[in-house]
């Protein structure tokens, strides 16, 4: 059984090839084929998971080499897959959520003209993502990494006829490339230093070769972290994810919440041994994670577009996972990744279902009172929001977030301030998630429901809702001293270095704090969005609050900041190089102010007085002094500037021959140096 696990990524990739290269197929064939491959892949991964569990996950995992990819002198890379508890969990998430989302998409996209193209991209995505998590070496992982990046680009811009969607896709692609460039450099560094790209060998060699805090390992981990924050949308490379919501909603559910954006978390968990050697990087991860988590949660609070609320929520939850990674609790991070995949996919599918029923309405302010018309969606929303906010004991989100908060508190890297930040984030999370529920399903009705979603959309949501409630118990242990079943499972893949002792009292206290934070958030949401007391309304209307609101609405104005610090100077530079700076500066500073003052002050009394008293005498003096030395000096100056401008402008003419001449002159100069030397 285990020998066949390479078929899991092969299935969706085969589906992609058939859908892309094959003839144009009918909708029924396309959806039938996609669902068949997805079901097969999900069933196969489930049975392999069972087989692995029975075998007890021997610590090194299970690898299988398929063929040699590149074989050069001193550089050999195989196409090889590796499976252990960590990649198994990821595979289950990808194939499971993938199957549910594709089932949902067969109905959601049924009106679309380019049904086949959509499913081709989706299959390619699932295949690349599986390659990413199953890769045995970092180069193959990078191939999958770029593959999912490409699919993300293609799917965000799926409705490319709208220019804005294309822009959003380009933004996602470019921002991700910034991180990926860092990651590629990191891979080169690891290869030159350790002589291999196989992940397990790297981890082994790193502990032998590097001591804790070695500058090389810090550099390597910072570079890998660069790739991870790009893909996982952490500050400062998060700007692409809110815009990525331009894609179809199933894409947002699968790629931009459940799977692809967690690739950064997976990468760090996979190479956690390296990160354990670099405490500086770990602190950086904690800082980045905390900042991201708080910033995104506060931004989610004021968004009007339901998908943007969930996008910011995803960024914020990824921040929680980064905090867990930073404090060394990789197991807790993966557990939160797992539960988050379930409830966030549920919430995105819910958002899609609402848009489906309300003529593509995305604005929360235009929804309301939908509880009676769409009872199924209402319950899905309540379950999803409850799990996201981590309501105690009945939801999965509670168990995973509780773990992270506990670890954040007791870890030497964290402490009380980190716990406090996490609790504040928890309150904000509950606040924004129940805001969505109250605004969409209670209150006055603004829109009529046009159609109800069919079973292909409600069934996946039902399954995800059950999972969002049920799987939390996997991460629960009756006694605080010993880790839960899931954490122990993860520890077979990622051995914990120094298990910090947890006392019963600490665990109990965090559980109480986390529950009360969540309940406080829900109560706050009820107060603010259901009751709406007059005193609160008055506070909201004040200018200061509105200004903060605007600031949060624009996601802390990161886009504006980047435009100001990166785009603007670049453009200005280009403009300056085109028109020549000196000329423009003179124009701006001297000519224009003078012209405008002269224009506005023409002909009044003061003007006349000035003319009589100053200008005429001056003119008279000027007349007799015309062409004296001073005059010539100034004229010479202007001519000099003019000449300089003309000369400088020649540098950038767009004339190829001129460029070639300059190039040749440079070559002559260099050769001259060689001759003289």
């Amino acid at each position: 059984m285990l020998d066949w696990f390479w078929i899991i990524p092969a299935l969706p990739l085969a589906g992609f090839l058939v859908l892309t290269l094959g003839p144009s197929l009918s909708r029924a064939t396309v959806s039938g084929m996609t669902l068949a491959t997805s079901t097969l892949a999900a069933m196969l991964s489930a049975s392999i998971a069972v087989a692995l569990l029975q075998q007890g996950f021997h610590p090194v995992g299970y690898s299988r080499s398929l063929w040699t990819w590149i074989d050069l002198d001193g550089f050999t890379t195989r196409i090889a897959l590796y499976i252990d508890a960590l990649s198994m969990t990821m595979v289950l998430i990808i194939t499971g959520v993938g199957l549910l989302v594709q089932l949902y998409a067969t109905e959601y996209m049924s009106e679309d003209d380019e049904y086949q193209r959509f499913f081709a991209y989706m299959n390619l995505f699932v295949g690349s993502m599986l390659v990413l998590v199953l890769a045995d070496n970092l180069l193959l992982l990078f191939l999958g990494w770029e593959g999912v990046g490409l699919c993300s680009y293609l799917l965000i811009g799926f409705w490319y006829r709208d220019l804005l969607n294309g822009r959003a896709a380009r933004k996602a692609f470019i921002v991700n490339r910034i991180g990926d460039a860092a990651m590629l450099v990191g891979l080169c560094l690891l290869f030159t230093e350790l002589g291999t790209l196989e992940i397990q060998a790297i981890l082994r060699n790193a502990t032998l070769q590097w001591t804790i805090g070695d500058p090389l390992v810090v550099t390597a981990t910072v570079l890998l972290l660069g790739g991870a924050i790009g893909k996982s949308a952490q500050v400062p490379l998060h700007v692409w994810l809110p815009d990525a919501m331009a894609g179809p909603t199933p894409v947002s559910a699968l790629i931009h919440s459940a799977t692809m954006v967690t690739a950064g978390v997976y990468l760090i968990a996979r190479t956690h041994t390296l990160f354990a050697l670099a405490p500086v990087t770990q602190t950086a991860i904690v800082v980045i994670g905390t900042t991201t988590m708080l910033f995104a949660a506060s931004s989610a609070l004021v968004q009007r577009d339901i998908k943007r609320v969930f996008a910011y929520s995803t960024i914020s939850q990824l921040g929680y996972m980064f905090i867990a990674l930073g404090v060394g609790a990789t197991g807790a991070a993966i557990f939160h990744l797992f539960t988050h995949a379930c409830f966030k996919a549920l919430l995105f599918l819910l958002a899609g279902a609402l848009m489906f029923s309300l003529h593509h309405e995305k604005d929360l302010m235009n929804m309301g009172g939908l509880r009676r018309d769409l009872p199924l969606l209402f319950w899905a929303a309540v379950i999803g929001a409850a799990s996201l906010s981590g309501l105690p004991f009945i939801t999965a989100g509670f168990f995973s977030k509780d773990q992270i908060l506990l670890q954040a508190w007791i870890s030497p890297n964290g402490g009380r301030w980190l716990l406090t930040a996490g609790l504040i984030g928890s309150v904000l999370t509950a606040l924004y998630s129940f805001r969505v529920v109250f605004l969409a399903f209670f209150g006055e009705k603004h829109r009529e429901v046009s159609k109800s979603p069919g079973w292909r959309m409600t069934l996946p949501m039902g399954i995800l809702a059950v999972l969002s409630l049920g799987i939390g118990w996997l991460g629960w242990s009756p006694r605080a001293e010993e880790p839960s079943w899931f954490i122990r499972l993860m520890d077979t893949a990622m051995p914990v270095h120094q298990p910090d002792p947890i006392t019963e009292a600490q665990a109990g206290m965090v559980a109480v704090l986390a529950s009360s934070a969540a309940l406080l958030g829900v109560a706050g949401a009820y107060l603010m969005y259901m009751q709406r007391p007059a005193s609160l309304e008055a506070v909201v209307k004040t200018e200061a609050v509105q200004a903060i609101r605007q600031f949060l609405f624009r996601g802390w104005a990161f886009n504006w900041l980047y435009r100001l610090t990166i785009q603007k100077p670049f453009r200005l530079f280009a403009q300056a190089a085109k028109h020549d700076l000196v000329e423009r500066a003179y124009d701006r500073l001297l000519v224009r102010p003078f012209l405008s003052t002269a224009g506005s002050a023409k002909g009044d009394i003061v003007d006349q007085a000035y003319e009589r008293l100053l200008m005429r005498p001056f003119q008279w003096v000027a007349d007799i002094n015309q062409d004296d030395v001073l005059d010539r000096l100034y004229r010479g100056l202007t001519r000099l500037v003019e000449q300089a401008a003309v000369t400088a402008r020649r540098l950038q003419t767009g004339q190829v021959r001129w460029y070639a001449t300059v190039l040749a002159a440079g070559a002559v100069g260099l050769a001259g140096l060689a001759v003289l030397a």
Binding site: I70, L72, D73, F75, T661, A664, A665, A667, V668, A671, G672, A674, V675
Partner: protein
């Protein structure tokens, strides 16, 4: 005897290149260029590089120049363009290029003259086997990189060369 051949080939190469540079007619220029490449192939042969000589004839004088022929045919170079070309290459335009080129040549010449090129052994014949062995062992990575360069070359040429619908 070998020297004689070398100087003949070298003078053919230089004179045909000069003719190419000043030719107003694109087809004539191209024929001169092919002649120059063939002469250089002879020089390669005399320098003991028969493999490079064969490639020079097949790829440079053959494939690359045929591409130019196609493009010239597509652009329909007629008497009118020859006339225009004559107008473009007046006397005045030559001063800077010739000056720069002469300067560069003088510098390179000085370097060669002062350099320590005092080999005694005759040009050893380095056959294809030897080239192939070195190419596919020491330079293997460069060969892979060359393949990476050629693929975008194909794609780029295809993309740029296709006729778009909105084009006239």
């Amino acid at each position: 005897m070998m020297d004689f051949f070398f100087y003949v080939a070298a003078s053919v190469a230089i004179s045909s290149t000069v003719l190419f540079v000043i030719a107003p007619n694109a087809v004539h220029a191209l024929l001169n260029l092919i002649l120059s490449f063939l002469a250089i192939a002879v020089i390669f042969l005399l320098l003991g590089a028969p493999f490079a000589a064969a490639l020079e004839v097949i790829i440079y004088a053959g494939a690359v120049m045929v591409l130019f022929v196609f493009v010239i045919m597509m652009l329909q170079v007629g008497p009118k363009s020859v006339e225009q070309e004559r107008r473009w290459i007046g006397i005045r335009i030559w001063w800077v290029p010739v000056g720069l080129a002469m300067l560069l040549l003088a510098e390179v010449g000085t370097l060669i003259a002062t350099g320590a090129v005092t080999a005694e052994s005759g040009p050893r014949r380095v056959g294809p086997e030897e080239v192939g062995l070195v190419l596919l062992s020491r330079y293997l990575l460069a060969v892979e990189l060359a393949s990476l360069l050629l693929l975008p070359g194909i794609l780029g040429a295809y993309y740029l060369g296709r006729r778009r619908r909105e084009d006239p």
